[in-house]
């Protein structure tokens, strides 16, 4: 391997430090979120550390590896991802009304976390091979839309509305970065305005529709379906300006927060650290996202650029949807907070995404080899 010295000199420290800070806050918060419990749940922060370290090692290998090798296998990676989703639909058992996991002995693996990356890779590959500097129309996005629709539909069937919509949002973000004609944008927006009510009426399961209803009218059913969303919001508000102090959030300590370690770690954090803490955490996510856009803008080829935009979109939408649903700006869907939520699949996926960003970033000015 040539230029290894150069590579390490180009290590993207801001990206690394930003991610590490969020991950450390996440582990700290996870300790608090599960501190009420005894037994394996209380030790989740330790498993989380293991997952972070393990995924970090894999990530380091990916960084060392030129991301352009991935371009060659992009559609194969995508195919494998779609295949695992099909396997889930056929094999997986129900957990609380939906089947999202495949089990390997003691491990549970959630393919829909990884299909987001597979999708990004596939879209990057397609756009890499389809440059349209003179501008594009909606017709030019039909194939990417189909590439997106297949895994999205499979995930929706699990059913997992949150993850399915993240797939779609990633596609939309990537589409937004292409040079779409203004006319096409308007046509698209028009279709969406008509399409969403139809989707609500015919495309959603009953429980998904209730969630949307609860979101639209949260006060109507505080003790029933809206309970989680309501208590999460109360926890955030209870944090006040400076917070209740670490390990001292009553909504968390007294078990009023559901799924504190997976879907609702943010209210735990906001209750303990207050508005000040929330600003710090949000600022870290802002930094991570904007820095990643910057990496995308400096990518040395179209594949890298789209790859980075896709990963950034994934980080951004996860963070925005998760925080928004906890503070009542969106319906409750099972979308994790990057590097903050507990879960091996989620952590590994985010770490792999960050590794791809790092890989692109480290090679932004590397002299192009003769043949690639």
């Amino acid at each position: 391997m040539r230029g290894n010295d150069a590579l390490s000199a180009r290590f993207d420290w801001p990206l690394f430090v930003g991610a590490v800070l969020i991950a450390l806050l996440g582990v700290l918060n996870l300790y608090s979120a599960t501190s009420v419990y005894t037994g394996p749940v209380a030790e989740r922060y330790i498993s989380q550390l293991y997952w972070l370290l393990g995924a970090g090692v894999v990530g380091a290998l990916i960084c060392a590896f030129d991301y352009r090798h991935i371009e060659r296998f992009a559609y194969i990676i995508y195919g494998v991802g779609v295949f695992t989703l099909v396997v889930v639909l056929v094999l997986a058992r129900d957990v609380r009304g939906s089947a999202r996991w495949i089990e390997f002995g003691a491990f549970r693996f959630q393919p829909s976390e990884f299909t987001k990356l597979c999708l990004i890779v596939a879209l990057a590959k397609y756009l890499h091979d389809d440059p349209k500097n003179e501008g594009r129309t909606l017709k030019d996005l039909v194939v990417p839309a189909i590439i997106t629709a297949v895994p999205s539909f499979l995930v929706l069937r699990q059913p997992d509305l949150g993850t399915a919509s993240v797939h779609v949002f990633i596609f939309l973000t990537i589409a937004a970065v292409t040079k779409l004609h203004t006319k096409s944008i308007l046509a698209f927006l028009g279709t969406v305005t008509v399409g969403i009510p139809l989707l609500y009426k015919y495309g959603l399961r009953d429980y998904q529709r209730t969630r949307v209803d609860v979101f639209l009218n949260p006060e109507a059913d505080v003790l029933g379906k809206g309970w989680h969303a309501y208590q999460a919001r109360v926890a955030i508000g209870n944090g006040g300006f400076s917070g209740n102090g670490y390990l001292k959030g009553p909504q968390n300590q007294f078990l009023f927060l559901p799924d504190q370690s997976t879907d609702f770690p943010f209210p735990v954090f906001a209750e303990e650290w207050g508005f000040v803490g929330s600003v710090v955490l949000i600022a870290l996510y802002v930094f991570l996202c904007l820095w990643s856009v910057r990496i995308a803008s400096q990518a040395r080829d179209r594949f890298g650029a789209v790859l980075c935009v896709g990963v950034t979109a994934m980080l951004f939408w996860h963070a925005v949807i998760n925080v928004s649903m906890t503070c009542g700006l969106m319906p409750v869907v099972g979308v994790t907070l990057p590097l903050f939520s507990y879960g091996g699949s989620s952590v590994t996926n985010i770490m792999l995404g960050l590794a791809l960003l790092m890989s692109v970033s480290m090679r932004r000015n590397v002299v192009r080899p003769e043949r690639f």
Partner: protein
């Protein structure tokens, strides 16, 4: 341009990156605005909701005041009833249940019944599946000891002590003390403003009811922390803040004027008779030493520890028994006084100057009035006032009416002075006022026609005249003390739970009856003769060494059918009431005593012996206390507390 070069040209995206960045930035700013709203603007509201989630105000039970007798013996107190609760879903039906049933000593039938109930709840899939049920109330102390010693083997089982009222003397004096019952929904509607809640017990009759507001005490409360699953959590003082607890105030204790040992003595003396009442009253204060009604009931069974079924059974007995155990026969029942009224007829005539104490009349065993013949008990021959009272001659008193103008209104006036026809003001139980009929009242009742026979009946305490045992006792106390009619006193003092006297009650005189001393002495002498001279009506019942003065009475009962009683037992309800009223000792009286044996028959045979026995007990108790020193001074007998 080759595709290879084009692939490296990212200019298609170049202009869009900053828009994407701006969009992301604005989205996060939007979230921060929302967080500012929740955490800063609406913080107080959210804080309040969060506190409401976890802070519960738990009421702290208070303890009801203890009722003691004049010497400090406990008449009503509180004891823990140990109730066993189980969570059926956490109860192992094989091992744990078998052990539990063993410790509780469950009978086969009860065990099957409970087993069925537990199985039913275990099978329930709804929200009831985790509930706790009350398995058995008031288990024995042995069982409690076994359960707590083996608590680790009994998951899902808990023993909770609940305070219940305890009456150590059980049936003796139950009417005076009363009993407790759970407040019903109807009463609760009016009592809620005084702080009663569902499930509260309150005094239903007797002292428990009349002094409820003193006895009940004031509930306290405490703030505790409860998590979302309803479990109590320790700590969290900083969350609760300063107003965390208000201590309950225990109810006031009552010191009664009763003597519990005398009550027991009365109960013993009354053995052999089915129904009636006794009042023993201090003649110089109006304080009640003994107030006894028979048949009685066990207030322990009614007051709640042994479960709803026991209460229901006890109530059914209370209200279906033809002998009316629910009725307090000393204050709530009004009966014709019969001959025990004669001293008052005599005083009416003497004080008006209508009769001469030396005058005597001939009793031929009957008298004719109009076309009717009125019979005396036997032929008394020449009869003076003294003899007429001591030997209870009806003819003498009839002649007072027919020959000496001792008419209805004269009798009624004196009777009313002695407190007949009006409530005594005891303050407990529904008091009957009795009836002291006047000529106008009798005329009115007889549709405008007055008959002289009404006055003949009134002179010997028959007819429309009715009295309560307590009224008669107070009237005899007035005869004994020279004419002071007292208001009866049952509660001597109100005390705090540590024994400090809060309020003490002195005797209250209702009125001073204007009496001629000579006339009174004459009546007193006759009363003494009635119990102590050979021809006296109570002489045969006398007990050597018991210095009693008094008058027997045998009051006729209107013949009637009694509902709910079989024909062969009706004779009982048509038998005369037996009375004895008097005081002791005869020369310097201390106590007045009235004994009523309902449907007992002759007063001399059935009521007088009880009176002698009760006074004997009274004397023995006084002697015992005299020997112990500090005769009669009320002390607190802490050892008698359960």
């Amino acid at each position: 341009m080759s595709l290879f070069v084009q692939r490296s040209d990212t200019s298609e995206f170049r202009r869009r990156f900053r828009w994407i960045a701006l969009f992301m930035f604005l989205a996060f700013v939007g979230i921060l605005v929302r967080l500012f709203q929740l955490q800063v603007v609406e913080h107080d509201d959210n804080r309040a909701i969060a506190l409401e989630n976890i802070v519960r105000r738990v009421t702290l039970a208070t303890t009801r005041g203890i009722i003691r007798d004049r010497y400090g013996r406990v008449l009503a107190a509180n004891r823990p009833s140990y109730n066993v609760y189980v969570v059926p879903r956490r109860l192992d039906p094989e091992t744990t249940w078998a052990k539990l049933a063993g410790y509780l000593g469950l009978q086969q039938e009860e065990r099957m019944r409970l087993e069925e109930r537990i199985a039913k709840i275990r099978a329930d899939e709804g929200p009831r599946r985790d509930q706790q049920i009350l398995l058995k109330e008031d288990v024995s102390r042995d069982a409690v000891a076994e359960l707590s010693a083996n608590a680790s083997e009994l998951p899902g089982v808990s023993v909770v002590p609940v305070p219940v009222r305890y009456y150590p003397y059980a049936e003796v004096g139950a009417h005076v003390l009363g009993y407790m019952a759970e407040v019903d929904a109807e009463k609760l509607a009016t009592l809620r403003s005084s702080g009663y809640v569902e499930g509260d017990r309150l005094g239903v009759t007797g002292t428990e009811r009349a002094w409820e507001s003193y006895l009940r005490g004031t509930r306290g409360w405490e703030k505790v922390l409860v998590d979302a699953r309803g479990r109590r959590r320790q700590g969290g003082e900083e969350i609760i803040g300063s107003d965390a607890r208000v201590d309950p105030i225990p109810g006031r204790d009552l010191r009664l004027t009763l003597d519990a040992e005398l009550q027991v003595g009365i109960d013993k003396a009354f053995r052999g008779e089915l129904a009636g009442g006794v009042a023993v009253i201090e003649v110089k204060t109006g304080r009640i030493l003994g107030l006894y009604s028979k048949p009685s009931f066990d207030p322990n069974a009614l007051s709640g520890a042994s479960g709803k079924q026991v209460i229901r059974d006890a109530f059914r007995r209370l209200y279906t028994d033809p002998l009316k155990p629910a009725l307090d026969k000393t204050v709530s029942g009004a009966y014709p006084p019969g001959s025990t009224f004669k001293p008052f007829t005599a005083i009416a005539g003497l004080d008006k100057g209508l009769i001469d104490q030396r005058a005597s009349i001939q009793c031929r065993g009957f008298t004719k009035f109009g076309r009717r013949t009125y019979g005396c008990t036997h032929v008394h021959g020449a009869t003076s006032l003294h003899k007429a009272i001591a030997e209870s001659c009806n003819v003498y008193f009839w002649q007072l009416v027919s020959e000496y103008q001792v008419g209805m209104d004269v009798i009624a006036e004196t009777g009313q002075r002695f407190g007949f026809g009006a409530k005594t003001g005891l303050g407990i139980n529904a008091e009957a006022s009795g009836r002291m009929p006047t000529r106008a009242w009798m005329t009115y009742r007889n549709k405008g026609r007055y008959l002289q026979g009404f006055a003949l009946n009134a002179a010997i305490g028959q007819g429309a005249t009715t009295v309560t045992v307590l009224q008669l006792g107070l009237a005899y106390a007035a005869l004994a003390n020279g004419g002071t009619l007292y208001q009866p006193q049952l509660v001597r003092a109100v005390e705090t739970s540590n024994g400090t006297v809060v309020q003490e009650f002195s005797p209250r005189v209702r009125r001073q009856i204007p009496l001629d001393a000579d006339n009174l002495r004459l009546v007193q002498k006759a009363l003494k003769a009635g119990a102590q001279e050979e021809r006296g009506t109570a002489f045969r019942a006398r007990i050597a060494g018991v210095d009693l003065a008094g008058k027997t009475g045998t009051a006729q009962v209107g013949h009637r059918l009694v509902r709910g009683v079989e024909a062969e037992r009706v004779w009982y309800f048509n038998r005369d009431h037996a009375w004895f009223a008097g005081y002791s000792p005869s020369s310097a009286p201390e106590v007045a005593i009235v004994v009523l044996v309902e449907h007992g028959g002759a007063g001399g045979k059935h009521a007088a012996p009880i009176a002698f026995k009760v006074i004997r007990t009274y004397n023995e108790l006084a002697e015992k206390r005299g020997a112990a020193g500090g005769a009669g001074s009320p002390t607190r007998d802490a050892g008698a507390r359960p």
